[in-house]
């Protein structure tokens, strides 16, 4: 198992500081070669989920 990177450690710490599950999801999305775009995509997905939700 590889050691978590410095960035992963920062994000883990940050996740413990937020309570809103949406914020946790956005922080978790900060990965890959283009992390900013990845978070934007996750936010996009979140909003569409609300739009399409049954209730």
């Amino acid at each position: 198992m590889t050691e978590p990177s410095r960035l992963e450690l920062y994000l883990e710490e940050l996740k413990t500081l937020v309570t809103d599950p949406i914020h946790k999801r956005l922080l978790a999305a900060y990965t890959g070669d283009e992390p900013k775009e990845s978070v934007e995509l996750e936010l996009n997905r979140l909003l569409i989920e609300v739009l399409k939700s049954e209730d």
């Binding site: 500081l17 900013k36 909003l47």
Partner: protein, 828 residues
């Protein structure tokens, strides 16, 4: 990682290739201004990083375009920088060749590579260069840039990027909001605007706003909407009838004004799927099974005869089972060959009859398929026509519509007229194509029923079906293009009709009722977007705290250690006092604002940037760079220092020589470049025991700088140094080992000089080994006993200055010292 040598061709001030060998500890380079000093530092920077900080920080990038290549370099050759680095015990060549204006190709030990094997380390730490133009850079830049630079220096740049990214996302989330969400929310905004404009519904508007702010529950808002609706229907109306009644009331009022409507029903997702499936099915029908099966039925024409023939044989064979030797029809006796013949014929007829039965089944299948096709055509046609017919009914009321919409909504009215023209044409085309295909289908169906199959009929049907498929495809596309403009026109008409009929309040209540779920979702979206501010704050505080911890502890300590060394006793007491982070009035950390503190006689000043003198800011910048380069995590064991003392007074410049010595003691390889010869002489004297390399760029021409290596010191100075060490009874092992080195260097220096005098040929003293020394002295005709003594002296001292567990030999040094004096007598 140390740098052993560098080879530069065609880069910046360098034209023809020049090689500079660096001393493992100290290399001094002197040159007048504009002789190419900085090009050396920049060459190493470009080699390692692919760009130089001068170009990176240049405000107008265009002015730096193509500036890496020397303009006099022969066009047939390329610009390159090559350096040899030591990593532990191994050595590696890095070479970078310029391609075009700012691209490059890289090689490690002549093997092409995409990136340097140490790229990750390079990115994580500050560059090993201290350049005059960059000294104050981090101190004087805008706070945001300073934060970025400090984050990089501290290896926290990922944290800086993380913060920038989240601030950007949370502050401007619009880029992440899909269009359908924006459209959705704007529809709810329109409802709010509608409520704001209706004084009679003012209470509801307040509730709406409170609900949006999260101050009211969804239930209380829906209850309020429903209660408001009740005001418009008869008392005692059951709950479930309130909305239908409201709709009826509005319709009744509106119909008095206008009985038409602009209704172009949009294709649902299901409709679009059905359209696609139908078109796919039609194409499949034409190209595959049905036509093949239909064509096979043509053989069916002779079926009647075959069937009767078979029945005839069945009957005859049945009678024959009772009287096998008599003809069942005339009673005549049958021979064996005739009986055999009848059996054979019966089998053949039976086979044909079986085949015919299969064809009969196939015919039924074709009939079924044609019926199915007929039904699908009908449904498909209905799907398109229902929309068109409903919409085109507005044509009956077009004059009245004009009176309502014109002149205020001229554009909307024109769009309706255009849509009528377009969609009427679509409808006619669909009608025509449908009639044509159904007619062809009927002819095919009839031919099967009558067993009069005909290839021409099925071919014609195929063509018509393809034609119809194409018409449906273009028609649905045309209808789709009109959906949005007609929906807009319909909204405008609705608004105008409500105005004319006085049903604005009722209409708005109906809309609210029908869109309650939509409103709830829109507010959920609002709440998510508003919550991003909290996320931003959390990220900012987190990054700010991390940064504060790094700058106020680790960084301040490192920098202060060096800053204290550069301070002079006579300095006015206005000094750098550490790093901090700016804070808001509430005491919260401002994450992107690194503060540089200063104090005077114990009192805090506003900021170092505004309080420190130019020279002290330079000194601080220098200390910052040194501190970062001495961090244990720094992979570089070398440091280029380019003209550091420009704005300093004598005393500070002198202090800096101590700092250089300190760096050398810490095994840091220093390459110091300056235009100040006097100061460099003092550095050379101050760092005399380190026996570094000394270069002078003595001239500059079109072919580039003329770099000459000069002796670190004279042989007489070296022998004086040895003498001093020998007289010093307290001289330790390190000093005595240095004495051996001084003797070795004096020998090479003297040998080179004697050879030059006697033979008129220059020999590079730095490159002479013990065999070279002996050979030179033999050629110069020195006595053998002298040569032997010098050979022994060189060989022994050469070994002595390399070994790590050196044992001092004072007597030997004394003896060698006298041998070298003896050698010096042969110098004319």
């Amino acid at each position: 990682m140390k740098i052993n040598n560098i080879s530069i061709r065609g880069f910046r001030g360098f034209n023809e290739e020049r090689v500079i060998v660096f001393h493992p500890l100290l290399t001094l380079i002197y040159a007048h201004n504009s002789y190419g000093k900085t090009s050396i530092t920049e060459a190493v920077e470009w080699l390692l990083y692919g760009s130089t900080s001068k170009v990176e920080r240049g405000e107008f990038k265009d002015e730096y375009k193509g500036s890496y290549r020397n303009c006099h370099l022969d066009s047939s050759v390329s610009t390159f920088v090559k350096a040899n680095f030591s990593f532990g015990t191994g050595q590696v060549d890095f070479k970078s060749e310029l391609i075009g204006e700012d691209e490059y190709s890289r090689h490690v030990d002549d093997n092409p590579v995409e990136c340097w094997p140490i790229d990750a380390e390079l990115a994580a730490i500050s560059k090993p260069f201290i350049m005059q133009h960059a000294l104050k850079y981090l101190l004087l830049v805008a706070p945001d840039q300073r934060f970025k630079g400090f984050a990089q220096l501290l290896g926290l740049d990922e944290l800086g990027t993380l913060q920038t990214d989240f601030v950007s996302i949370c502050t401007k989330p619009k880029a992440s909001i899909p269009t359908e969400v924006t459209t959705f929310c704007s529809q709810v905004d329109a409802l709010e605007d509608g409520l704001a404009a209706r004084p009679a519904l003012n209470n509801l508007y307040s509730l709406f706003k409170n609900f949006r702010k999260g101050k009211e529950s969804f239930t209380s808002f829906t209850t309020a909407v429903f209660n408001e609706c009740r005001n418009f229907v008869l008392e005692g109306t059951p709950d479930e009838s309130v909305l239908p009644n409201l709709l009826r009331i509005r319709d009744d009022y509106v119909k008095k004004v206008f009985s038409g409507s602009i209704t172009l029903i949009p294709y649902s997702a299901e409709d679009r799927t059905s359209n696609s499936a139908d078109l796919e099915y039609f194409v499949k029908v034409v190209s595959k099974d049905l036509i093949t099966q239909y064509c096979e039925l043509i053989a069916f024409e002779t079926s009647e005869i075959i069937i009767r023939h078979s029945q005839f044989y069945d009957l005859g064979v049945e009678f024959l089972t009772k009287q096998p030797d008599r003809c069942p029809f005339c009673g005549q006796e049958l021979s064996d060959s005739i009986i055999k013949h009848i059996d054979q014929k019966h089998q053949e007829a039976k086979g044909e009859a079986d085949h015919l039965t299969a064809l009969l089944n196939q015919r039924q299948s074709v009939i079924d398929k044609l019926s199915q096709l007929e039904r699908r055509l009908e449904i498909c046609q209905q799907r398109q026509m229902s929309r068109l017919t409903t919409f085109l009914s507005i044509n009956n009321n077009i004059d009245q519509l004009g009176k309502i919409l014109l002149p205020q909504h001229k554009a909307y009215f024109a769009s309706v007229q255009n849509a009528i023209t377009l969609l009427q044409g679509v409808k006619n085309q669909l009608d025509k194509s449908y009639v044509s295909v159904t007619k062809a289908l009927y002819a095919v169906q009839l031919s099967v029923q009558q067993s009069k199959e005909n290839i021409a009929l099925i071919s014609q049907f195929g063509e018509k079906l393809i034609e119809y498929s194409n018409t449906v495809s273009t028609s649905s596309a045309s209808i789709s293009t009109q959906e949005s403009p007609m929906s807009n026109a319909s909204q405008i008409l609705k608004h105008e009709l409500d105005l004319l009929a006085g049903t604005e309040d009722i209409s708005l209540l109906i809309d609210l009722n029908e869109n309650l779920k939509k409103i709830k979702k829109a507010f959920q979206i609002d709440s998510i977007l508003a919550g991003l501010k909290d996320l931003r704050k959390t990220v900012e505080q987190y990054v700010g705290t991390k940064m504060l911890d790094a700058v106020s502890n680790e960084m301040t300590l490192y920098v202060m250690e060096w800053y204290n060394q550069i301070r002079t006793t006579g300095d006015p007491n206005v000094h750098f006092s550490g790093f901090d982070m700016d804070r808001t009035k509430k005491g919260e950390i401002m994450s992107r604002r690194v503060q540089i503190k200063a104090s005077s006689y114990g009192k805090d000043l506003v900021s170092a940037v505004s309080s420190l003198s130019e020279s002290k800011l330079n000194a601080l910048g220098l200390c910052l760079s040194i501190a970062m380069n001495l961090k244990p995590s720094c992979p570089f064991n070398f440091l280029f220092i380019d003209d550091p003392i420009q704005s300093w007074d004598e005393e500070h410049a002198e202090q800096f020589i101590d700092i250089i010595r300190e760096l050398l003691k810490k095994e840091k390889q220093v390459i110091l470049l300056t235009h100040n010869k006097n100061w460099l002489e003092r550095v050379r004297t101050g760092c005399r025991p380190f026996n570094g390399f000394y270069y002078e760029i003595v001239s500059y021409s079109i072919s580039g700088p003329n770099i000459i290596q000069k002796p670190w010191c004279s042989w007489t100075q070296r022998l004086e140094e040895v003498d001093g060490i020998l007289k010093d009874e307290t001289a330790d092992t390190v000093r005595l080992q240095q004495a051996e080195e001084e003797i070795r260097l004096a020998v090479t220096d003297l040998t080179s000089k004697i050879y030059s005098q006697k033979k008129r040929v220059n020999k590079d003293a730095n490159k002479l080994n013990h065999n070279d020394v002996r050979k030179c002295l033999v050629e110069c005709g020195l006595p053998t006993d002298v040569i032997n003594r010098i050979y022994q002296t060189f060989e022994t001292t050469d070994d002595a200055h390399h070994i790590t567990d050196y044992t001092p030999h004072r007597e030997r040094i004394r003896r060698y010292h006298s041998y070298v004096h003896e050698l010096s007598k042969y110098l004319e």
